[in-house]
Structure formats: structure tokens, C-alpha cells
Amino acid sequence: MALLELRDLHTFFTTKKGIVKAVNGVSYSVDAGRTLGIVGESGSGKSVSAMSILRLLDGNGYIDSGEILFEGRDLTKATNEEMYKIRGNKISVIFQEPMTSLNPVFTVERQLNEVFLTHQKVSRKEASRRSLEMLQAVKIPNPTNVLKQYPHQLSGGMRQRVMIAMALACQPRVLIADEPTTALAVTIQAQILKLMNDLKEQNGTSILFITHDLGVINEMADDVAVMYCGQVVEMASVETIFGENPYSHPYTEGLMNSIPRLNTPTGVRLEAIPGAVPHPLDLPKGCKFAPRCKYATSRCLAEEPALYEIEDGHQIRCFYPCKADRTRDIEQMKEAQHAK
């Protein structure tokens, strides 16, 4: 029984030019104590799907259809009152920009205390005490001073730690980390990643980790969902995704080949995915990835494949999930053309 489960979620945005289907039938689930990594390019709807969980979509966004099951109840139907009780308490978030995500005019202490005072019946003193504990938990040097400081007096890494402290204040069941390290320097990113892992071990929090950096995913996630154009195109354990495996979605495959790895020899040409992500307002009719897919057939362009389980724990949204087969097919096609 998954702790948090999205079932065929559709989240749309109304814009002047039309309805943007940011999240277009997404389903994934986070099990207790595990980390689900969501990877995808900008505009793949990974953040939106996460924000839909907390129903924190800005102005013109709305959940069109689908279910978000958390501890068995559907958050899409929950009242605002219930949502208040869930946000920051049962499900909490860490955002990308530590620089702007903290309120510049309040001290760290006040912003931390707020969480306790909203979700737990505690006195200010008690709240401050717990805030201090949290700062210690996230390994901030001399926390007592930091409590009294304003965000702008802290470095990016420190702010992100404060954000984490704030997020974990009420021991949430689920922690949504939305590109938490993208804005940080590499060594600092490593610190934060490690910290998150450690804390996860300690309180058995489930993490929904969103990033576009495959490396980070590899470090953090137990399971991975690859998103493209508002859909999950592949979902499997991290070993399946990054390891040797007969099945994969062409997009995932492309990503893997396109990024240079430390062991990629110099001079060897990278296999780039041609073209660019389609504009959210005119998505292709069939498989969203078909226009950029080297394996694409007329079928791909015509009808849209569904996400289905190819092997246990491994879902793919593609007509030709088997690497070997599709490469062979393409070879044959090439030869056929040569023959002509």
C-alpha cells in the first residue's frame, strides 16, 4: 500500500493563448520510507505534479481530474481546512531557490517557530526550543546565533539547511524536494544530499525528489519516474534505470546516451536527442516523444501508447520497449532504404 499515490492526474493552466496541459495523466506512487526520484526536462510537469499534491498551484492552475491518495484519502477532494493541516505537517516541501524561499523580513527563529505554532499546541518558548533542536539536527554551526539571524545573513547552503529544518520540523510522512540543490555549488550540493539521506534514514520520511540532474537522482532515489511532456514515460527502480536492462523508453535511453559520463572517452560523439521539447500548447497527437524518437513508426505518430508494466516494478509508455528489437528494426529499415 503506497503512502502517497497519484492516479491519472491532470493539472491544467489556463493562459491567454489556451489551456496548457502541464500534467497530463500522471500516475506514480511513493512507498513509506523510500525515495522516488522524478527526472525530466523543464516543462515536463515534474514540479507541477508535486505542487498539485499540496494543491499549491498558482492563480490560473487547477486540477482537472485524477486522484491524489495520501494515507488512503483523496487530497483533490480534501477541504482547505484539511489541507492546512497536511501542509508542512504531514507533507512538506523544499524549494529550489534557497535565496528567495525564506521571508527576508523575519528571523530564522520566527519562521521556524511558525511551523510548530501552527501545527502543534506549544508555547513560544517550547517552539523556540524545538527550532533550536531542528537547526542542530540539520548540522548548522552555532545554531543559537543563526536562530536570531535574518536569511540574508546566511549562505545559500545554510539557508537550504534552514529550509530543510523547517520542512522536517513536524516529522512529515512525505518530503517533497523540488530541485533542492540545483542552485547550490557542487560541494554544498553534496553536503545537502548527504544530510537529506541521513535525515531520511533517521525518521523514515519518504522523499519525492524532483530534479533534472540524472547524477543526483542516481545518488538519491530508490525508484525513478522519468517524465516527458506532462507524462510519466518510464518508472522503475534506480538500478533498472541506470543499470543494464533489456527494456527502456527511448527517451530515457536517449538521456543516458546524451549526457557525457566520467567514463565516456573524449572525442566520441555524443548521441544527442534531436529537436526540442514540443510547445505545451501544440503537443503531438500520438506519442509525445515520437517526433524526436529515432525509433518512431507511423503508429507512434498516430496513437498514444499507455504506461504499462513490462516487467515487475518496471513501467514503460512505449510500443517498442525492448532495446534489442527496436535497434534491430531500425537497422533493417536502414538496409531497406539502402536497397532502394
Binding site: 499540496l54 499549491l56 498558482d58 492563480g59 482547505n80 489541507m83 492546512y84 493541516k85 497536511i86 501542509r87 508542512g88 505537517n89 512538506s92 516541501v93 524549494f95 531557490e97 528567495t100 524561499s101 525564506l102 521571508n103 527576508p104 523580513v105 523575519f106 511558525e114 511551523v115 501552527t118 501545527h119 535574518y150 540574508h152 529550509m163 523547517m166
Partner: protein
């Protein structure tokens, strides 16, 4: 902070002197001889000799016989020592003359300041939160019209409506003539007379400030930390009134003072329409009677107000925004 204040203060003094020289030069270029006002004009016909002498004495007493730089220095010295010279029109030292007007003006403007913010802040917040709602649109258009209408037009309109058609307020003045109220009665009468000018000056300021508050609020609501606050599970009220508004306050605070200063100047019109015995009115009458000492003092007062206003603005800004450190 202290360092900053000192630095700023020195700068203020510098500006003050520059402006004072300017003002002095301007007033000195006034045609007509103020000494004439001091001398009994009958003498001219009856006893020209004595008239001339009297005139000379007057000139000397006003220090008009000395070269301009010396006059300036003298005047400055006096001004700084609190002696703003002698009002020819009231035949009393300026310092005695300006007391009441100053009080009246400050009273009027302070009240309108309070009223304006009492009205605009809630309105601004609501229309910012309900962005592009019908309400917001209405507020938008209303505010544009509001800040476009000239003060005196509003004044005439309000007089027509509230003093002539529905006679609930007095047309002008700052006290009912022929009455010698005391204590509360007097205050009541005072407020009763202030009502209409107050109404007008408030109404005129609404539009501009409202737009400003709204803009500031919208900017604040766009920030990432608002999303964070929501994600913490804070109630929408808290998010808006504590987190967003506290940030919107920063830009708002900074305009309060500058705007306050400007309405000081702007209240000239209102005062003259409602014959409100304030600085504006005084300066006008002083100008009409070429009472140089008086309006010179007035001008300097305005300058000081402006300078202090700017200083207050900086301080307020630094208080409102922890990121700003005055040094």
C-alpha cells in the same frame, strides 16, 4: 546607524544652505521697498524731510542698507538663532505669526495621512489578492480617475455638495466667527471646520497611494517565500497579512514620507480654497503683501520639512527592511 545619521545630517545642512541662498536671492529680487510699509505714509505729504529720515531708519532697521552677502549672513544668523525676522503685514515677529498656521497645516495633513492609509491599505490588499476581479478592476479605474482629478475641482465639487446643497459642513474658515468657544466645544468646532478640507485632501491622495499599495502587495505575493509560507500550512490570512503585507510595507513606508512632504506643499490649494489658516494660506497672503520675511521663513520651513522627510524615509526604510543597514 549613528554614523549614517551624522553623515546624513551634515548633508542636510549643506543642502539647507544651498537652498537658503537660492531663496534669499529670489526674495531679494522682489520689486518694491519693504521699508515703505513700515513708515507712516501720511508723512510723505505732510513732512517730506522727516519722512525721508523715517524711511532711512526703517531701511537700517531692516538692514537694507548693507550689501547683499552681509544681509544674507545676518539673516542666516538670525534664522539659526530662532529669529525669523519681522512680518511687515502683521507687524509682529514672524515666529509669533507662523505658530497657528503651522499647527493647522500639520493637523490637517496628519489627519488626512491617517485617513488615507486607513482606507487604502485594506482596499489595496483586497484588490491585490483578488487581482483582475471585478472589484479590482473597479478599484483600478477609480484610482486612476481619483489621482487625475485636480484638487481644486474636487474641492469645488465637495463645497457644492456638502456645504451648499446639503449644508452639513461650513464652507471655509477654521472657526465659527463670533463665537468664543472654549475647551471641548472649541475642539469640536475646529474639527467641524476641518472636516471638508480634510475630506478633500484625503480624497485627492487616495488614488495614488491605493495604486501603490496594490502594486507593492502584488509584488510581495509573487515572491517565492509566499509559496513557502503556504507550504508550511499557514492559513491564507496569515500568509497575506503577516508574510506578504510585512514585505509590501517596505516600499509603502518609503513613499509615505515623500508623499507626506508633497501634500504639505500641495495643501496650499486646499488651504486657500477653504481659507484654512495654514502655512499655505499664510504664504499666499505673505506673497500678496510682499511680506518677504514671512514667506522666506515659510519657504525655509518647507525645505526643512522636506529634508527631514527624506531622512525619516531612509530611517523608516532601514527599520522596515532588515537587509538594509544604514551606515
Amino acid at each position: 546607524m549613528a554614523k549614517y545619521l551624522i553623515k546624513r545630517f551634515l548633508y542636510m545642512i549643506f543642502v539647507f544652505f544651498i537652498v537658503s541662498i537660492l531663496m534669499f536671492a529670489i526674495t531679494k529680487s522682489v520689486p518694491g521697498d519693504p521699508a515703505l510699509k513700515m513708515v507712516n505714509q501720511q508723512l510723505a505729504s505732510t513732512d517730506p524731510a522727516r519722512y525721508q529720515i523715517a524711511l532711512e531708519e526703517a531701511r537700517q532697521s531692516l538692514g537694507l542698507d548693507q550689501p547683499l552677502p552681509i544681509q544674507y549672513v545676518k539673516w542666516m544668523a538670525n534664522t539659526l538663532s530662532g529669529n525669523f525676522g519681522f512680518s511687515l503685514q502683521y507687524r509682529r515677529p514672524v515666529i509669533e505669526v507662523v505658530g497657528t498656521p503651522m499647527f493647522n497645516t500639520v493637523a490637517l495633513n496628519l489627519c488626512s495621512l491617517i485617513l488615507v492609509f486607513a482606507i487604502t491599505i485594506p482596499l489595496g490588499i483586497i484588490s491585490a489578492v483578488k487581482k483582475r476581479s471585478a472589484f479590482d478592476q473597479a478599484v483600478q479605474v477609480g484610482s486612476i480617475i481619483g489621482y487625475s482629478l485636480p484638487t481644486f475641482v474636487i474641492a469645488l465639487l465637495f463645497i457644492y455638495l456638502f456645504a451648499l446643497k446639503i449644508q452639513i459642513f461650513p464652507i471655509s474658515g477654521s472657526a465659527t466667527p463670533g463665537t468664543d468657544y472654549t475647551g471641548l466645544q472649541r475642539v469640536g468646532d475646529y474639527l467641524y471646520h476641518m472636516a471638508l478640507p480634510l475630506l478633500v485632501s484625503t480624497f485627492c491622495s487616495l488614488g495614488g497611494i491605493l495604486r501603490y499599495v496594490r502594486a507593492a502587495m502584488i509584488d510581495a505575493l509573487r515572491e517565492d517565500y509566499i509559496r513557502t509560507a503556504r507550504a508550511k500550512g499557514l492559513r491564507e490570512k496569515v500568509v497575506i497579512y503577516s508574510h506578504a503585507f510585512r514585505n509590501a510595507l517596505i516600499p509603502i513606508v518609503t513613499i509615505i514620507t515623500s508623499w507626506f512632504v508633497s501634500i504639505f506643499g500641495g495643501s496650499v490649494v486646499i488651504e486657500s480654497i477653504f481659507l484654512w489658516n495654514g502655512l499655505g494660506n499664510t504664504i499666499l497672503t505673505a506673497l500678496r503683501n510682499l511680506d518677504s520675511a514671512l514667506y522666506l521663513a515659510m519657504m525655509m520651513f518647507y525645505v526643512i520639512i522636506t529634508l527631514i522627510g527624506n531622512l525619516l524615509m531612509d530611517i523608516a526604510y532601514c527599520i522596515a527592511d532588515p537587509r538594509v543597514k544604514l551606515q
